[in-house]
């Protein structure tokens, strides 16, 4: 998955929760909660959507990394890389 695909996945998850937002207007470095008026239930649903789409386990302790668009893309890219690596090593282990 490229970084652009991840970005699109994040934006899709957000617009499903807040259909009125214009993806082009999202400020990449500002927290979603502040600019999109998300409450904790919205944020939980956002994490759930990412979990469903990307098949990643996202611990609660990592939620702060998901608070901005740039932060979320970087975090998810690293997480996806790590899960691919562990998958590969699992397959290579006899």
């Amino acid at each position: 998955m490229t970084s652009d695909e991840i970005r699109q996945t994040v934006i899709d998850a957000l617009t499903r929760i807040a259909p009125e937002i214009d993806p082009a207007s999202i400020e990449v470095g500002t927290s979603f909660r502040d600019q999109l008026d998300l409450d904790s239930m919205d944020f939980l649903n956002f994490v759930l959507a990412l979990h469903d789409r990307l098949r990643l386990d996202i611990p609660e302790a990592d939620y702060p990394s998901l608070s901005t668009l740039d932060g979320a893309v970087a975090y998810l890219a690293a997480k996806l890389d790590a899960s691919r690596l562990s998958e590969a090593s699992r397959l290579l282990t006899p």
Binding site: P19, E20, D37, S40, L44, H51, E60
Partner: protein, 384 residues
Amino acid sequence: MPSLGADMEAGTLVEWVKHPGDPLKRGDVIAVVDTQKGAIEIEVFEDGVLEKTIVEPGRKVPVGTVLAIIHGSGPAPLPVERSASPTPLAPPAPSPPPITPSLERAGRARISPMARKVAADHGVDLAHVTGTGAQGAITREDVERAAAALEAASATPSAASTDRLTPMRAAIAAAMARSKREIPHYYLSTTIDLRAGLAWLRAENERRAVTERLLPAALLIKAVALALREVPELNGHWIEGRFRKGAGIHIGVAISLRGGGLVAPALHDVDTVNLTALMRQLQDLVARARSGSLKSSELADPTITVTNLGEQGVEAAFGIIYPPQVALVGFGKIMERLWAVAGKAEIRPLVTATLSGDHRATDGHRGGLLLSAIEGLLQTPEKL
């Protein structure tokens, strides 16, 4: 047309889900009705057979109008007349006087001269106004409320609309104005240390999959429900001059809608539901409230309301009671603050819990007991 809360005057029948001859079980969805709160699924409250539908889809009718006749377990179907008393589709919602179809009362209704004048000024048909005065008399306030609803309704496009804000604002205004006019509110506030609650939640969420995680709101709502067992006189309705205890602890959760407005549908029997199930119900309720697809029981049943304005960053919320309920619990933002513990200053996550109580039903002493029960329960989160 069931009353789905004190702020509902009328509803538009959107469709019949069941048809004449269909067997009905308690809880079945029989019809969909459009209100300011979205499309609401109307549930049946008794077993029987749908005998006849009376109101056609697309028609807007006042609360109390007979929508259909259900043949219950009695011997013969009742004759189809407006004045017949068929098995009601839903029990009269515990909103105060309304309910009785006002059409039946036309001619007998007592109407104050001032009410007549206001009605004439606003073009309100008094036959459609429900009186809340002595012996069902129509008062000036009743007419003003009807006028506001009329104005709101005329602003609504006839079909189910995406623009609900204007009628919803008018409905909220009518219910809240009535609350402030009729309910002598008292307000209490207390600060609760949430260290134990949040620490337990963090540990719990660490071992739970994303789909099973809990929010602090679930803990707070459950604590309110259990506390109400200890102070039951805050759980119920004030109807016709006296308090009626709620049939269960059904907590109305204030949910703000994207784009404005709010609804407070019920989570049922919260005191008997475990936190995992409660969290799932809360998620489902919020999603359906925001997509405009609630059930009639969820709107009609709340016995108390909980508002969690802390989400928006305020420290404390003193709410307006939603009539005919007699109490509202508000939670502010959870904030880290200096807190004295056994003579030492510590940093603790604190939340301000408030209670708005109806002084006709209780006094500040009982209200205070509820807040301290909530505080106590939150110190042992594993027992919630």
